[in-house]
Symmetry: C2
Subunit: 198 residues, 2 copies
Amino acid sequence: MIFVKKIMNSALKEIISKVIRVNPPELEEIGKFFSRQSLSKGEFLLKEGNFCSHLYFIEKGCLRLFYIDSKGREFTRFMAFENTFLSSMTAFISREPSTEYIQAMENSILYSIGYDDFLELRSSFPSGNYFYIYILEYGVTVITARLNNILTKSASERYRQLLFNNPEIIQRLSNNDLATYLNISPETLSRLKSNLSS
Amino acid sequence: MIFVKKIMNSALKEIISKVIRVNPPELEEIGKFFSRQSLSKGEFLLKEGNFCSHLYFIEKGCLRLFYIDSKGREFTRFMAFENTFLSSMTAFISREPSTEYIQAMENSILYSIGYDDFLELRSSFPSGNYFYIYILEYGVTVITARLNNILTKSASERYRQLLFNNPEIIQRLSNNDLATYLNISPETLSRLKSNLSS
C-alpha cells in the first residue's frame, strides 16, 4: 500500500461540491483531510475482526466487500467501482470490529479519510454533515438495491440485469469473482453465459 | 387509519433526546411535527408505485416491508417492531415511487412525520441533521445485517438465530409471516420447528 501526497482528484472534488456548499478555498482545505493511496490487486484494505477506521473514495479500480462463513465460504456483499465511496459502514459507524473483508480486485487508487479527521471535517464546515448524509443515503440505497436483487431475482435475472445495466463489470471481473457477485456458482454462471451467447 | 392529536410518546422523546441536543421546550416543538395514528392489522401504509412521503416511529405493533415480484411472490425485506423508525428509505430519499409495500402485521400505533416537515425540523434545530444521521445509520446497520443474514446463513441457522435473539418475534408472527421473514418456505419452517422441539 503506497501513500502519496494529499491532493484530491477532480471527481472527488466534483462530488463534494455537489453535495455541500463550499467555496474553492474551503474545497482545498477539505482536500487536506484526504490521503491518496494505491493498492495492488489482491491486497486487503480490511479484514474481519479489525476496526474499520477509514472511509474511501475510489479514483480507479474495483474493491470487493465480502464475508467468510465458518465453513470458509465467501459471500460478496458488494462491489465498488470508480467514483464511489466505500467502507465497512456498519463497523465504521459502530466502532466495533468488522465482520467483513475489503479486498482490491484490480490495481486501485483510493482517497481515504480517517474516522477522527472525518469528524473534524464534519464539525469544521457549516454544511459538513450534509457530506455524511450523502454517503449514508448512498449506502442505504445501494445496500437496499442489493438486498432486493438477492431476495427477488433468479440467477438468470441477476445476470441479465447486470448485462443490461453494467456490461463493463462482466468484462472486468474473472468468472469466479463475477459468480460471487451474482451469488451463484461458477457452473451456473458458465451455463448462463453460454445460453445467452448461443 | 385514524389520526389523533400531536403528542409524542415517551420512547420517541427519549430517542430524540439521546440523538440530538434539545431542551424541554424544543422537544415539545419537535413533537408538533409528528402525528399519532393507529393502523389495523392488514392495513397498508404504502404500496408499490406510490410515493413514500413519511417517516414512521412505531409505538406499538409490527410492520412488514416487502416486495412482490412479477409472479406475485412476496419477499420480506424487513420487519419492524416497537420503538424503531421505519420508512421505505430508498423511496423517501429519492422522491421516486416505492418498489415495496409496508403493511401492519398487528394492530399498530405509529408516529409519522411528512417529508417537508422533516426538512423543516432538520433546518429549524441546530442539531436537526443529527436526527436524520441517526435514522440513516440505523438504516444502514439493519439493512446490512439483513443482507448478511440472507447471504451467509442457512434456513436452520436463521431460525436458531431468531430463536436466540428475538424469541418474541416467533410468538407474535403467524407461521406464514415468519417463513417470509426467514426467507424460507412454510414447510421448511414447520420442519425446523418440529426438529428443534423434538
